[in-house]
């Protein structure tokens, strides 16, 4: 990825002219050039290094499979880091999170959740959803959120208007074997309008859920990754 962020390095574009980038907001974020990604904004290198441990060689690698890997790792890094941040925000007495900006290039380390959606070849009108957009719908921007943080502590927050009655199902899997290490089910009744419950997947707190008033802060259970 750094290959196309460095104006002196054009490898990823197969001998296109190098871009000319200006430093506007603390990095070379404003670029002009003839290649298809000249209008990128924020680099993704630091995210890919942080999350996937990529080396400079990995990021400068060229070819179809290298590019696919770089794009995937860029967008998954963005999604995972944003997921951590949004979960942290929703664990607090926050009244809302707004994504800005909505759309931007696919391979960039910004906050956008849609890629640019024009009639240019390779794009889809309206813009494809980036992984983060799927995370928003599946995990993060629902009325009810559930998330786990440090020390096996988890929380449920009901920002809807209705009381939620149901069950929490927890399944802990091993990476190595894909087998379930343990499962548990916790009955839950949690009112809306910001009520928060917390529980643990381990330790003596297991199977207990405690409901707090909306003003109860839960920052302490999270360690923010980035």
């Amino acid at each position: 990825m750094s290959a196309f962020l460095n104006p002196q390095n054009f490898g990823i574009h197969g001998f296109d002219d190098p871009d000319v980038c200006r430093n506007e907001y603390g990095n070379l974020n404003s670029c002009n050039g003839t290649n298809v990604w000249a209008e990128r904004n924020y680099p993704c290198d630091s995210l890919v290094k942080k999350v996937f441990g990529a080396s400079e060689d990995d990021l400068d690698d060229i070819g179809v499979s290298a590019l696919q890997r770089q794009l995937y790792q860029c967008m998954m890094s963005q999604a995972l880091l944003m997921k951590t941040e949004i979960e942290r925000q929703r664990s607090t007495n926050s009244f809302g999170s707004l994504i800005w900006q909505l759309n931007e290039n696919w391979p960039t380390g910004g906050w956008g959740v849609l890629e640019y959606g024009t009639d240019l070849p390779g794009q889809v009108i309206g813009g494809r959803w980036k992984p983060l957009m799927y995370f928003l719908r599946q995990h993060l921007f629902n009325d009810v959120i559930i998330a786990c943080g440090d020390s096996f502590l988890c929380f449920v927050k009901n920002d809807g208007s209705d009381t939620l009655r149901g069950n929490i199902n927890v399944d802990v899997l091993s990476y190595n074997t894909s087998e379930s290490i343990f499962s548990l089910q916790i009955p839950i009744v949690i009112e809306g309008c910001g009520k928060v419950g917390e529980f643990a997947t381990r330790s003596r707190l297991r199977n207990q859920i405690r409901i707090h008033k909306p003003l109860h802060f839960l920052n302490r259970i999270f360690q923010v990754a980035p």
Binding site: V51, G53, Y134, A147, V170, L173
Partner: protein, 94 residues
Amino acid sequence: MPHEIEERNEIVLIEIHDEAGFLVVNNFAIYSDPKLLHLNKNAKVKFQILNDFQVLVESDGLALWVMLTTMVDGVFSENAFIISGNEMKVTSLG
């Protein structure tokens, strides 16, 4: 086992179902960056296009964040998902 080591070998999948059994929301938790995870690299993910709108995804091992993309206009019902061993998942394009 020390917590740090224990956590690195685990992924937590959590779901909330309402009284009728419908899925309200789900999420996952990992306790270290993917670069530190000891995943089974032999897991194979297979795709099968069922019809114009549905794709069947299956894996014989735990696969994290399977991402589908297409040139067709639309979005998938589920994407960037986790699929555990011997699981099948159908995602729809709508």
